[in-house]
């Protein structure tokens, strides 16, 4: 526990940007999410404060915040079904290398109003974190975007990609709060929390934090056993099946 507090404190220190302009200080309500067999999703609260000093110029347009939470990265293959020989089957596909399995983009107003798309793309902010499909031997067509849109749509349906233009609330002009919702299916691993402060279309400060989703208890035990001790795990499952069958035949014995 002390370690985690120390880590949080360290992250706070790192989060503080150079002295001249605004400084961004953030704190996450919890840095570790435990997935047990009764896990149905959870909410984390991110608090942040914008520190100013006397020299800081006033910002006419007010402050804007974009919080990007990205889960562990994997290669995702998006497949499309096509009508082949009378049946619907997976035909074309696109690979998205090193793509976040979870992505939440929270802001205090629509992201498009906060900064220009070119800047967002260059800085990989928000949904721009999702890369373009990897080049394959096939000639890339204009359909790439269709696959990327499908990826985002499918992940959104399962609440694994979230875009909330009202997800960040300013409590005072310099104090804000964001709620990060992790669904039950949230993949296990390290999540990167990236907070950026904007004003008048330019980035002023940036803060980093992280959280970890871990499976614990019987969950973790089963996953470990299945992955690392396949044969033993299989034998155990089989024994469990035989015991269940034997038990039933004893309980329901008629003669």
């Amino acid at each position: 526990m002390r370690n985690r507090t120390a880590l949080a404190f360290a992250l706070l220190l790192i989060a503080t940007a150079p002295a001249s302009a605004e400084r961004l200080i953030t704190s996450l309500s919890n840095h570790q999410v435990l997935v047990t067999s009764s896990f149905t999703g959870t909410e984390l609260v991110l608090f942040g404060s914008i520190e100013r000093d006397e020299k800081t110029v006033s910002r006419r347009g007010g402050y804007n915040i974009i919080v990007t939470v990205s889960g562990p990265r994997q290669t995702l293959v998006v497949r499309r079904k096509d009508h082949v020989l009378g049946i619907w089957t997976n035909a074309e596909s696109r690979s998205f290398l090193n793509t976040p399995t979870y992505l939440a983009v929270l802001s205090n107003r629509p992201v498009s109003e906060i900064a220009a798309p070119e800047l967002m793309r260059r800085q990989e902010i928000g949904t721009y974190l999702i890369p373009r499909p990897a080049l394959t031997a096939q000639i890339q067509s204009g359909e790439d975007d269709i696959f990327r849109d499908a990826l985002i749509r499918l992940r959104k349906q399962r609440k694994l990609y979230v875009e909330e233009p009202t997800g960040v609330t300013f409590l005072t002009p310099s104090l804000f709060r964001a709620t990060i919702r992790l669904p039950a299916e949230a993949p296990v691993g390290i999540y990167d929390v990236d907070v950026r402060l904007f004003a008048d279309g330019t980035e002023l400060a940036r803060a980093h934090s992280a959280l970890e989703v871990v499976k614990v208890g019987i969950e973790q035990f089963i996953v470990n056993a299945a992955a690392n001790h396949g044969i033993l795990y299989g034998l155990f499952t089989t024994l469990m099946a035989l015991a269940t069958g034997w038990f039933a035949s004893v309980v329901f014995r008629k003669d």
């Binding site: 990265r73 290669t75 293959v77 497949r79 089957t89 399995t101 996953v223 099946a241 269940t244 069958g245």
Partner: protein
């Protein structure tokens, strides 16, 4: 009550799973089958990926066939030498099935092959069962005595060499079709996540002339051991067996099977065969519709390891 399945990586309602186990167990007890051909599609339907469904259901079938094998054992209704010889083929078939399963999975063809196999196998077997049962029911209505069809005493199968005598079943057949049947059942069982009882029993009756006294008991032993070894092989090679899911399903399954067996005893044999045939046909048609009707969502995502 929501419960998180560790391998299937899916939150599901525990009572839904128990209910599915009970329902499939009831049907399997009623017809004396393992029920894998119902459970695998049901799991796929609630969102478990086909690969995990197939691998997990094998342990579920092992449990339900263990409980019925024990009761047949008590009634001395198992032909052990015949079961052992079927098994010799069955284990090889299972290994072959798991090998093809792994190969198809890496080529991303597994879902399609599972769906197609279901369509072909279930529609064919279901159709045959329905027409056979309907003929029997019509004959019964017309007043003909119900005769178990034992057409011609010998087929080409009986001309094959390496003949073996199975005393308990009072048959004298070549070892080749016995090994072959075991192989086929083990192969498609591990590939499709079915015990194959609904295929094995007719095959034993029609091809090998195994009498009704020992046919179900013997087939149960084969199902039990092929499915138990399929569980171990799937766990060792593909790491896709979800023990928690399997446990919930098998608890529901063995309880349901007891009630199903009692309900089944009160029904006429040909009616029972008609119902089972319709059920098999229905599942097959459902898979066929899924393949031929344009799905509302054309896109799907597949994970291919860390990056």
């Amino acid at each position: 009550m929501q419960i998180y399945l560790p391998i299937a990586d899916l939150p599901v309602n525990m009572f839904l799973l128990l209910g599915m186990g009970l329902a499939v167990g009831f049907i399997s007890g009623m017809f004396g089958i393992g029920g894998g051909f119902l459970m695998t599609p049901l799991l796929i339907f609630i969102g478990v990926v086909p690969a995990v469904a197939v691998a997990t259901v094998s342990s579920h079938i092992a449990a339900s066939s263990a409980s019925s094998a024990i009761s047949y054992w008590r009634r001395n209704a198992i032909d052990i030498p015949l079961a052992m010889m079927l098994l010799a083929g069955g284990i090889v078939g299972t290994a072959g099935g798991v090998w093809l399963f792994t190969l198809l999975r890496s080529a991303d063809l597994l879902d399609l092959v599972i769906a197609l196999s279901y369509v072909v196998l279930l529609v064919a077997v279901g159709g045959m069962m329905v027409s056979e049962a309907l003929r029997a029911i019509i004959r019964a209505y017309q007043g003909y005595p119900v005769v178990l069809r034992r057409p011609g005493s010998h087929t080409w199968l009986h001309g094959l060499p390496f003949k073996v005598r199975f005393k308990r079943s009072k048959i004298y057949v070549s070892a080749m079709p016995v090994l072959g049947i075991g192989f086929i059942i083990g192969f498609i069982g591990s590939l499709m996540g079915i015990g194959g009882g609904f295929l094995l029993v007719p095959m034993l009756i029609y091809f090998l002339r195994v009498p009704t006294a020992t046919v179900i008991g013997t087939s149960t032993v084969l199902t039990l051991i092929t499915m138990a070894s399929a569980t171990v092989m799937h766990a060792a090679t593909n790491h896709l067996v979800d023990a928690l899911l399997a446990l919930i399903l098998m608890v529901g399954g063995v309880v349901g099977a007891q009630f199903g067996a009692r309900a089944g005893q009160r029904m006429k044999a040909e009616r029972l065969r008609l119902l089972l045939g319709l059920l098999v046909l229905g599942v097959g048609v459902r898979f066929a519709l899924d393949l031929t009707i344009q799905p509302s969502e054309l896109f799907s995502i597949r994970f291919t390891g860390g990056g």
